[in-house]
């Protein structure tokens, strides 16, 4: 009998699973109702490769080189000289009492250290860090269980311990202008921070300490106004945390979703395109236009959903009274189709709408 892990491995066509990172984990909360995505994420399927193989290459996550290099140079600035700039912000802007700070780089030693070995080192350092002083931990290695498999996260951020509390610090290169930042960028970033908060909590639990020591406020560091100066803001991440926890616990039940899939189905990017596309349709999707920006499979699923009202937008189907096909909606509206009992009310509304449109446009 094949166990879940083996099944997942076969699903992705053998080989190592795609490594998750905070961005891909955060993205899981963007369409939690989609079985296709849940299974692909759980199995660590190479989604961009699959999307390309079925003729719908994705551009998600593709950034301009200019943006990437700005991001790197900003982060380097903030963290230079043992995070001097960062400490200044914590003291001056957030009023945190940091008399003097230690800086610990938990980055890879490069001496053939294994991932789990590095994790243990991070854990040991974070667990035994001397309390009462401020300590900045750079490049800690954290991990989170995604449907029973450890995903190792290497945040290029620092965890900051002050007194008893741990704070997650997220450095981003979008600006805060007069105290205002792009709200969807903030949401995306702090959802990623929430992944680290969760991972840090689980690290502390493993070490037998109170996970509540991790603050539910993360420190977001961004360029100020139009300059290269940094500014720090505390952001409450309780909402993204709750969404994340719930989605991860759903992923833990991945076995239940796997049962919905015929045993011979795999999402191996090496499969012939037709076969792969066929396999994908075996896992039910829940397409909405938001997918285009949130999931690598967006373009494929949109093509698949052609003819359904889902491609017109999340609220449209609601406004049409739950009718899910474009042609049905139109036939009900024009009276060519007799509604079944469950569509009686929807049909009535659609006919009325049709009458109003015809009447108004004819005048």
């Amino acid at each position: 009998m094949e166990n879940t892990e083996q099944r997942l491995s076969r699903l992705r066509g053998g080989g190592d699973p795609e490594a998750h990172n905070a961005r891909t984990i955060a993205a899981m909360t963007r369409n939690p109702g989609c079985v296709r995505r849940a299974i692909m994420d759980a199995a660590g399927v190479d989604k961009p490769a699959v999307a390309a193989a079925v003729g719908h290459p994705t551009s998600i996550g593709r950034l301009s080189d200019f943006a990437v290099s700005r991001g790197i140079s900003f982060e380097t600035r903030v963290k230079s000289e043992g995070c001097a700039e960062l400490l200044r912000l914590l003291r001056e802007q957030l009023g945190l009492p940091v008399p003097q700070a230690h800086y610990e780089d938990l980055g890879s030693t490069g001496k053939g250290e294994t991932v789990s070995g590095r994790y243990l080192r991070s854990k040991a350092m974070l667990d035994t860090a001397e309390q009462g002083t401020g300590t900045l931990f750079d490049h800690p290695l954290l991990r989170l269980s995604i449907s029973g498999v450890w995903a190792y996260l290497e945040p290029d951020l620092v965890a900051f311990q002050l007194g008893e509390k741990f704070y997650v610090i997220e450095i981003k290169s979008f600006p805060v202008i007069d105290g205002v930042a792009d709200a969807s960028k903030v949401a995306a970033s702090v959802t990623q921070s929430a992944v680290y908060v969760l991972a840090l909590q689980s690290l502390l639990s493993e070490a037998g300490r109170d996970p509540g020591l991790v603050s539910h406020e993360v420190i977001l560091v961004c360029p100020k106004d139009f300059s290269n100066q940094a500014t720090a803001t505390l952001v409450d991440v309780r909402k993204p945390l709750a969404a994340l926890r719930r989605q991860l616990s759903r992923m833990d039940n991945i076995a239940a979703l796997l049962h919905l899939l015929p045993a011979n189905v795999t999402f191996d990017p090496e499969l012939p395109a037709m076969e792969l596309a066929q396999a994908l349709t075996q896992a039910s999707a829940r397409y909405s236009p938001e997918c285009l920006a949130a999931c690598e499979m967006g373009s494929f699923c949109r093509a698949e959903a052609k003819g359904s009202t889902a491609i017109l937008g999340r609220t449209v189907r609601e406004d049409l009274g739950g009718v899910d096909a474009v042609s049905t909606a139109l036939e009900l509206a024009t009276g060519r189709l007799q509604p079944t009992k469950d569509l009686l009310q929807a049909a009535h509304v659609l006919r009325l709408a049709q009458r109003m449109r015809t009447e108004a446009l004819a005048r």
Partner: protein, 499 residues
């Protein structure tokens, strides 16, 4: 969204062509608009890279910042942009009209007979102007960080324009995608409608292409450069980055000039399709019949334009970075009232918009089946209260006792529902009318709807816009942080970094 718009999307998807969701256009379309297609450098905050700008389709000015990371070059760009925008705006400050005073003791008012209208491709363009305004309006024309006079002036105008765009009834700054989706529904989602090329593909596909093909092509950044302000990452990597590097390393002026020409050409190619589409959008919308109150709203835009010109000629301080408590409350008050009036005007001008009200049962259209223009009731004395009965097939959700309903044909007449009765799928609504019939006990002919007339009653109304009672700025109460600091120019603002 409403069921009517949802159905229009369904029809569009089915027929492969955009569908009208309005019978008339509610936007003022200028006969001499200024179009601005901006591009920015990725990774920096609103760092200008290039722009195509002008008030004639065939005659765009192409501005390029050859070394976008150099502060001086950015200022050169802003100066040139300022020259174009300011001379366009100034062109509307020559002709004035005089209007009678609003109140008895006031002086007669003056306003300009026309106002500027700036088009950008999408909401990103509006944001570009807002940030451009923020970057430049605090700059000073004297002192250590002196800039040309046009720079802060452009900042104030850009800020004003971007702020007007927050009010749905204003037409001085228009994002083409929003103007188009206000009139047409496509067979794709509103998210995809944000792509100007895809949207135009549904409304007016290029010859030989279906709407779907056009929309699909629009998603390929090679075939169809994005409408900005952000550029395509591939373009950045393959074209822009090498050109910028070559400029940096150019061994001689001659080489530099050649690279610069190459860069300008490449950027122009990125902007040209968008430039053409914005003009095409202006043409398509301009060709639509305007709604009855478009002119009135444009007059209000002209009022605000005139006020702002006067403000600039007076103190002309740059607008605050964020609203103070009193200013914020005032603006919210204006925004809500202007929105309510705009919604009413649109419904009155456009049966499709009114249709949305009728769908929800908040309004109804029907035929007058009985009319008594001489009906009177006795309150403290006998007064005229004409009565009518309207028969409707609409799914009415109003009930007996609902009052203050209005028919757009008689805006000064209020109706209240006395009774409702239903038979054979039709509802008969008995209405009592008040107002709009003169002062006597007989209603002048035509002032009361006659039998056979088609009428529409709703709760919508266009009301007088009261300025509202607010404390003075220096009287801001302690509950809201007390009075804010008055404005004083700060060197730190003038010296602000543009990384």
């Amino acid at each position: 969204m409403s069921t009517l718009t949802a159905l229009a999307r369904v029809q569009a998807a089915h027929h492969g062509a955009a569908q009208q969701i309005c019978t008339v256009r509610h936007l003022h379309v200028h006969d001499r608009p200024l179009v601005l297609v901006p591009l920015t450098l990725a990774g920096e905050t609103n760092a200008p890279l290039a722009a195509m700008v002008g008030d004639r389709h065939g005659n765009p000015q192409v501005l390029v910042v050859p070394r976008p990371r150099l502060r001086e070059q950015r200022f050169v760009f802003v100066e040139r942009l300022a020259n174009i925008v300011l001379s366009y705006v100034d062109g509307f400050t020559d002709d004035v009209e005089t209007l009678p005073a609003k109140r008895k003791d006031d002086e007669p008012r003056q306003r300009f007979t026309d106002a500027p209208q700036v088009w950008v491709p999408n909401p990103g363009g509006v944001e570009y102007l807002r940030l451009m305004g923020r970057m430049t309006r605090f700059r000073q024309t004297t002192g250590d960080y002196a800039v040309a006079a046009g720079v802060p002036q452009l900042g104030k105008w850009a800020t004003w324009l971007a702020e007007q765009a927050e009010y749905p009834d204003s037409s001085v700054l228009v994002a083409a995608t929003q103007a188009l989706t206000g009139f047409w529904a496509t067979g794709q989602s509103s998210l995809e409608d944000g792509n100007l090329a895809a949207l135009m593909g549904w409304i007016a596909p290029p010859a030989g292409m279906t709407a779907e093909q056009a929309a699909a092509t629009a998603e390929d950044p090679i075939l169809c450069p994005p409408a900005g302000p952000a550029t395509d990452p591939q373009f950045d990597r393959l074209v822009l980055a090498p050109a910028l590097r070559d400029l940096e390393e150019a061994p001689s002026d001659a080489v530099r000039v050649r690279v610069q020409e190459r860069l300008t050409l490449a950027l122009r190619e990125q902007m040209q399709p968008t430039w053409d589409r914005v003009w095409q959008a202006i043409g398509l919308l301009g060709a639509q019949q305007p709604g009855g109150s478009v002119e009135q709203r444009w007059a209000a835009d002209r009022d605000r334009f005139s006020d702002f010109v006067a403000y600039l000629r007076d103190t002309g301080h740059p607008q605050a970075k964020r609203d103070s408590a009193v200013l914020g409350a005032r603006k919210l008050h204006d925004m809500e009232r202007r929105l309510a009036n705009f919604e009413a005007q649109r419904a009155f001008d456009d049966p499709l918009v009114m249709g949305e009200q009728r769908m929800t049962g908040e309004a109804f259209t029907g035929i007058v089946t009985w009319s008594d223009p001489l009906r009177t009731v006795t309150l403290s004395r006998r007064v005229l209260r004409p009565g009518i009965v309207v028969e409707t097939e609409d799914p009415l959700r109003l009930v007996a006792g609902d009052a203050d309903l209005r028919d757009p044909q008689r805006p000064n007449q209020k109706a209240s529902i006395l009774r409702l009765s239903e038979s054979a799928g039709k509802i008969s609504v008995s209405l009592e009318l008040q107002g709009g019939t003169g002062s006597g006990l007989t209603a002048p002919p035509g002032s009361v709807p006659a039998v056979g007339e088609r009428v529409t009653y709703s709760r919508l109304q266009v009301s007088y816009m009261s300025p509202g009672q607010f404390p003075a700025r220096d009287q801001t109460p302690w509950t809201h942080g007390g009075p804010p600091q008055p404005y004083a120019p700060a060197t730190s603002d003038a010296a602000e970094d543009w990384s």
